[in-house]
Amino acid sequence: MGTTASQLGKDLLSEYQELTFLTKQEILLAHKRFTELLTKDEKDLPNTRIPMERILTLPELKSNPFRKRICHVFSTSEQKDGSLTFEDFLDLLSAFSDSATLEIKSHYAFRIFDFDDDGTLDCGDLEKLVNCLTGETDDTRLTPEEMRQLISNILEESDIDKDGTVNLSEFQHVISRSPDFVSSFKIVL
C-alpha cells in the first residue's frame, strides 16, 4: 500500500477523489489491482495501456457478458482496441461504484448496450443484447420468433416517440423508474 500511495502522488489522489465517486481507499485499491496487471517492464512507464485481454482476466469482469463492451466504452484508446489506462480504469470503477448517480450509470449503460456505437438502440443492438443476456449456449437461446416478439414488446414499451429505436433519453426514462437498476449496475473491486 505504501508504495502505491507514493506512486500516485497526493495531489493526483485528491484530484481523483474529486473527479470520481470513489473514496481514497478504493482508488488506492484500484491502483494496486491495476499495477498487478502490468508486466515488469511496463511498470516503469507512466500512462501505460493495458490491453483488453488482460483487463478481462479480472475476476470481477470475467463472467460478465458485457465485458468487452465495457472495455470499449471506457477505453480512450485511438485504436479502438478496448485497452485501458489507469484513468480509464478509474472512470469505469467510478461509474460502477455504489455512490454514482443514476444519470451517469444510465449514460454508460446505454453506451454499453449500444453495440454499434451509433447513439441509439435499434433492433440489431437489442438482439445482441438479448443474446448476451441469455448466454452462449444453444439451449438457453431464444428462438427467432421469441426474439422478434420480445423486441417488438420492448419497443412498444420504451420507444416513446415511435421511431423504431430507443434513444438515450427514452432509455434513461425507462431506467430511472426501474427499482433495481442502481443496485445491480455495480462492480466493486
Binding site: 474529486e18 481507499q25 443476456l133 416478439q149 420480445l150 416517440d161
Partner: protein, 903 residues
C-alpha cells in the same frame, strides 16, 4: 468513433477562419481603445465569448459521436454564429460571467485542436486579471463572485459528467486555477477579508468532509466478506448479509444506550450486591445459585444481577453524580423503541425514494432487458444460473403476453388452492394450540418446582417454538406445490404464511405469559400480606423481648420477597432468544454443513449422483433467514425493557451469525437456481420489520401502562404505575411552572386537536402524492398522443409533398417526352425511383421525422438501388433528375436525430 478526427479537422478549419476574422476585429478595437482599458476589456471578452460559444457547440457535437447528430450539431453552430453576429451589435454586458464559465468547458474540450488560439486567450486573460481588482466596480465584482461560484459548482458537478478522465482533469485544474486567482483578487479589498476567510473555511470544511467520508467507509465492517458473497451468489444473497449488518448497527446503538445509561451506572454507583433483599440470592436458592444448569436457565446469580429488571433499586438518585436511575431506566426503554421506529421509517422512506414508483408495470419487458443482469456476479456458475433464469423470465413473459391468462382447468386449481389454504390454516391453529398447551403445562411445572422435572420438561416451551419454526415452513413449502402459483406469487404466499406462523407463535407465547403474570400478581398479593404479618411479628417480638435492644438486623437473603413478574418476563425472553439462536446454528450445521459433507463424500460410493440428484447441496434461503432475523429483533424489542442484557446478547448473536453464515454460505451452499431480485424486496422486509416492531411494542407498552410494578423489585417499586417516574421528576426536579405547562399540554383538549391535525396532514400528503401520480400518467399519455399526432402530420405532409413532386415530375416528363419520344420506357421505372427518393428528401428536410416502419426500410433500398444507372442518365436530361442521387449516405443519419431532446 471514426468520425471524430476528420470532424475535428473540419471544425478546426472553420474555427480558424472565424478566429482570424474575430482577431482582426479585435486588433482594430484594441488599437482604438488602448487608453480606456476598463471598458474595452468587456468588449474584448464579448468577442472571445462568442468564439467560445461557437466552439462549445462544436464540443457538444463532438460529445455525441453519432453520425446523425453531426449535421444537427453543425446546424446549431451556424445558429450560434448568427447569434454571435447579432451580439457584436448589441454588446450585452451582463453576459460576461456566463461566457467566462463557458470558456472553461471549451478550452478543455478542444485543447489539442486550437492550442495556439487558447494560448492567446490565456495571455489576454492574464492581462485582464492583473488590471481587474483595482479597476472593477462593486457591481462587476459581484458578477465575478458569481462566476467564481459557478466554477465551483462546475467543479462539484464534474464527477457526475460522463467524460473521460483526461478531460475532467484538465477542466478541474483550469477551473481550480481560475477560482484561486479570482478569489485572491477578490480577497484584496477591505471588506473582502471575510470573504477570503469564508472561502478558506469552506475549502477546509470540504476537505474535512471528504476525509470524514473516507473514514466512515473505512469503518463499515465486513465489506470484503459481503463483496465476496456478492460475486458468488449475486445481490439477493448479499442483501441478506447487508440487512444483517444493518441490524447489527441498530443493535449496537440499542446496546450502547442500555449498557451506558442503565447497566453501567447501576453496577458502578448503585448499592452493591447483597446490600438489600432484591440484590441478594434468597436463602433457599443459595445452595444451587452457582450451578451451571441454573445459570444456563438464567436463574441464581444471573437472575440477581444487572442483567434483569428486578435487581435495580428504586432509589431516586444514585452515586456522587446523583444519577436519576429510575428515570434513566424508563427513558432508555422508551428511547430504544422510539429510535427503532425512527430508523426503520427513515430507511423505508429512503428506499421508497430510490425505487420510485415500485409497482409500475409499464416497463416490464424493458426492465427485464436492461436491468436484469447483476454486474456483481463474478462466479461463472452463478453467471450460468443467471443466464438460465433470465432466459426463463423472458420466455415466461412472452408466454404470459401471448396467452394472457388462459386457464385450462380453473375448477381444479381453485379447489386445490382452497384446500392448500385450509391445510395451512390447520397447521397454524395446531401450532398455536401446541404452544399454548406447552406454556400452560410449563406453568404447572413451575408451580411444582423446576427441580423435579427433566431437562426436556423445563425447556419444552422454547424447544417446541423453535421446532415449529423449523418444520412448519417446510410443510408450507410442500403444501404450496398444490397451488400451482407463479413462483413470485408463491414466494409471497410462503413469506406471508411463515410470517403468520411466527406471529401466531409469538402472540400465543405472549398471551400465555400474560396469564402467568396475572398468576404471579395473585401470588404477590398473598406474599405482600404475609410479609406485613411477618414484619409485624418481628416487630412484636423485639418489643416483647427487650425494648431497649437495637433493632435486629436480618440478613437480606432471609427476607421474604414477592415473585417479581418483570424479572420472570425478562428471563423468558432471554431463554427464548438463546434457544432460538441455538436452533439456528444447529440447523445451519446439520442442514447445510453435514449435508454438504455427506453429499460430497458419499457421492463416491452411492448408487445415484448425490450432487445432481435428490439431496444435492442446499441453497441459501434468503427469505427464511430474513424472517428469522426480523422475528428475533421483535423479541428483543419486546423483552429489552425487562432484561437490559438482551441487546448485548443480540449483538453477540448477530456478530457470531455474521461469521458463521458467511462461512456456511461460502463453503456449503450452491447459488440459487432462481436468482430473484434483492432490491425489490428490500422495502418488503422493512415493512415486515415495521409491523413486527409495532406488534412487539404493543404488549410491552401495555404491560408498562396497565400493570402496576412489583412492590419489592425493580426501579419502579413502590409506585402505582411505571410512568409515574415522569411525574415525580417533573414535580421535584423542574420548576413549578414547567410541570404546569406540561399538565396543560397533556390535557386531552390539546392532544386531541393535535392528533387530528396530524391525521389531516397525513391525508393531505397522501392525496397530493396521489394526484402527482395521476399527473404523471396523464403527461405520459399526452406525450404519446402528441407523438402519434406528429407522426400523422408528418405522414400527411410527406404525402402532399410527394404529390406535388409527382405532378412536377409528370410535367417535366411530358416535356421530356416531347423532346425525346424514345425515352418512354425508362420513364416508368423512374417514376418508382422518384417515389422513393422524394420521401427521403422529405426526411432529410425534417430531421425529427420518424422513419417508415422497419419493414419499409428493408424493402426500399433494393427497389431503389437497382435502377440507379439508368435514372442517373435520365436525370441528366430530365428536370427532377437531381433527386435520385440525393444524399443517399445521409439517409440513415437523419432517422436518428433524437426527437425527445428537442421537444
Amino acid at each position: 468513433m471514426q468520425v471524430r478526427p476528420e470532424k475535428r479537422e473540419r471544425g478546426k478549419r472553420r474555427r480558424v477562419k472565424n478566429d482570424q476574422e474575430a482577431e482582426g476585429r479585435e486588433r482594430d478595437e484594441e488599437e482604438q481603445t488602448k487608453i480606456k482599458s476598463g471598458k474595452t476589456t468587456k468588449t474584448r471578452k464579448n468577442e472571445k465569448s462568442r468564439k467560445t460559444e461557437k466552439e462549445e457547440g462544436e464540443g457538444e457535437s463532438e460529445e455525441r459521436n453519432t453520425k446523425g447528430k453531426k449535421k444537427h450539431g453543425s446546424a446549431k453552430k451556424e445558429e450560434k454564429e448568427e447569434d454571435g453576429g447579432k451580439r457584436t451589435v448589441k454588446e450585452k454586458a451582463q453576459d460576461v460571467k456566463k461566457k467566462k464559465h463557458k470558456k472553461v468547458v471549451e478550452t478543455s474540450s478542444e485543447q489539442e485542436t486550437s492550442e495556439d488560439n487558447s494560448e492567446d486567450n490565456e495571455e489576454e486573460d492574464n492581462e485582464e486579471k492583473e488590471v481587474r481588482p483595482e479597476s472593477l466596480s462593486p457591481e462587476e465584482l459581484e458578477k465575478l463572485k458569481e462566476a467564481v461560484d459557478e466554477r465551483k459548482k462546475l467543479i462539484q458537478g464534474l464527477r457526475g459528467k460522463p467524460w473521460p478522465m483526461k478531460k475532467k482533469l484538465v477542466t478541474l485544474r483550469e477551473s481550480q486555477e481560475f477560482v484561486e486567482k479570482y478569489e485572491g483578487a477578490l480577497g484584496k479589498g477591505k471588506g473582502r477579508k471575510l470573504y477570503a476567510y469564508k472561502v478558506m473555511m469552506t475549502k477546509k470544511w470540504m476537505k474535512f468532509q471528504r476525509d470524514f467520508e473516507n473514514f466512515k467507509t473505512a469503518c463499515i465492517p465486513w465489506e470484503m466478506k459481503i463483496k465476496e458473497i456478492e460475486s458468488h451468489f449475486g445481490s439477493s444473497v448479499a442483501s441478506y448479509f447487508i440487512f444483517l449488518r444493518w441490524m447489527y448497527g441498530i443493535n449496537m446503538i440499542l446496546f450502547g444506550l442500555t449498557f451506558g445509561l442503565v447497566m453501567v451506572p447501576e453496577a458502578l454507583m448503585g448499592r452493591p450486591y447483597g446490600s438489600i433483599p432484591r440484590k441478594t440470592v434468597p436463602r433457599a436458592e443459595e445452595a444451587s445459585a452457582m450451578d451451571f444448569a441454573v445459570l444456563w436457565d438464567w436463574g441464581g446469580y444471573a437472575q440477581y444481577s444487572v442483567l434483569f429488571y428486578g435487581y435495580y433499586n428504586s432509589q431516586r438518585a444514585i452515586g456522587w453524580l446523583k444519577f436519576r436511575m429510575p428515570l434513566s431506566y424508563f427513558l432508555v426503554g422508551v428511547g430504544t423503541v422510539a429510535y427503532s421506529y425512527m430508523v426503520v421509517i427513515r430507511t423505508m422512506a429512503r428506499n421508497a425514494n430510490e425505487s420510485g414508483v415500485g409497482d409500475d408495470n409499464s416497463f416490464n419487458f424493458s426492465w427485464k432487458m436492461f436491468t436484469s443482469w447483476d454486474y456483481l456476479i463474478g462466479n461463472p456458475e452463478t453467471a450460468d444460473n443467471k443466464f438460465a433464469s433470465i432466459t426463463t423470465s423472458f420466455k415466461e413473459a412472452i408466454l404470459e403476453e401471448q396467452e394472457s391468462r388462459k386457464d385450462d382447468n380453473i375448477h381444479l386449481t381453485r379447489f386445490l388452492r382452497v384446500l392448500a389454504n385450509f391445510l395451512v390454516l390447520c397447521c397454524l391453529a395446531g401450532s398455536g394450540y401446541l404452544i399454548y398447551f406447552v406454556v400452560r403445562r410449563s406453568q404447572k411445572f413451575a408451580l411444582d418446582g423446576l427441580e423435579n422435572h427433566t431437562w426436556w420438561e423445563r425447556n419444552e416451551v422454547n424447544m417446541v417454538m423453535s421446532l415449529l419454526g423449523m418444520f412448519c415452513p417446510m410443510l408450507f413449502d410442500v403444501i404450496s406445490t398444490l397451488e400451482n402459483y407463479h413462483p413470485r406469487v408463491a414466494l409471497q404466499w410462503q413469506l406471508g404464511r411463515i410470517f403468520a406462523l411466527f406471529l401466531g407463535n409469538l402472540y400465543t407465547f405472549i398471551i400465555a405469559l400474560m396469564d402467568e403474570i396475572n398468576l404471579k400478581r395473585e401470588e404477590e398479593k398473598i406474599i405482600k400480606f404475609n410479609i406485613t404479618m411477618w414484619e409485624a411479628s418481628l416487630y412484636n417480638r423485639t418489643v416483647l423481648e427487650n425494648s431497649t435492644a437495637p433493632p435486629i438486623t436480618i440478613h437480606p437473603a432471609d427476607v421474604p420477597r414477592g415473585p417479581c413478574w418483570e424479572t420472570m418476563v425478562g428471563q423468558e425472553f432471554v431463554r427464548l432468544i438463546i434457544s432460538d439462536t441455538m436452533t439456528t446454528y444447529i440447523t445451519l450445521l446439520i442442514g447445510d454443513f453435514l449435508r454438504a459433507v455427506l453429499v460430497r463424500f458419499l457421492n463416491y460410493c452411492w448408487c445415484w449422483d448425490l450432487e445432481a440428484g435428490f439431496p444435492s447441496y442446499s441453497e441459501f434461503d434468503v427469505s427464511g433467514n430474513v424472517l428469522g432475523l426480523i422475528f428475533n429483533q421483535g423479541m428483543i424489542w419486546m423483552g429489552a425493557f425487562y432484561a437490559p442484557c438482551l441487546p448485548a446478547l443480540n449483538v453477540l448473536r448477530l456478530h457470531v451469525s455474521m461469521y458463521l453464515q458467511c462461512w456456511a454460505v461460502m463453503c456449503c451452499n450452491v447459488p440459487q437456481e432462481r436468482v430473484f431480485k434483492a432490491s425489490g424486496s428490500n422495502n418488503f422486509y422493512m415493512a415486515m420489520l415495521l409491523v413486527i416492531l409495532f406488534l412487539s411494542t404493543l404488549p410491552a407498552i401495555y404491560t408498562i401502562v396497565t400493570i402496576p410494578p412489583s412492590f419489592d423489585c425493580g426501579p419502579f417499586s413502590g409506585k402505582k404505575r411505571m410512568f409515574d417516574v415522569i411525574h415525580e421528576t417533573l414535580e421535584s426536579d423542574f420548576p413549578a411552572w414547567f410541570s404546569k405547562v406540561f399538565s396543560y399540554a397533556s390535557n386531552p383538549g390539546l392532544v386531541l386537536p393535535f392528533i387530528l391535525l396530524m391525521v389531516l396532514a397525513i391525508y393531505y400528503l397522501q392525496s397530493t402524492s396521489k394526484s402527482y401520480k395521476e399527473a404523471n400518467v396523464e403527461l405520459k399519455k399526452k406525450l404519446q398522443t402528441q407523438n402519434e399526432e406528429n407522426k400523422k402530420k408528418n405522414k400527411r405532409a410527406a404525402l402532399k409533398a410527394q404529390m406535388d413532386l409527382e405532378e412536377a415530375r409528370k410535367a417535366a416528363s411530358q416535356a421530356a417526352e416531347q423532346q425525346n419520344n424514345n425515352a418512354s420506357l425508362q420513364e416508368e421505372e423512374n417514376g418508382e425511383e422518384n417515389h422513393g427518393s422524394n420521401q427521403r428528401l422529405y426526411h432529410s428536410k425534417n430531421g425529427r421525422n420518424p422513419p417508415p416502419a422497419a419493414g419499409d426500410q428493408e424493402r426500399q433500398p433494393p427497389a431503389t438501388r437497382a435502377p440507379v444507372p439508368r435514372t442517373y442518365h435520365h436525370g441528366n436530361h430530365g428536370a427532377p433528375g437531381y433527386l435520385p442521387g440525393f444524399s443517399r449516405q445521409s439517409e440513415p443519419r437523419m432517422y436518428r436525430v433524437p426527437s425527445l431532446q428537442r421537444h
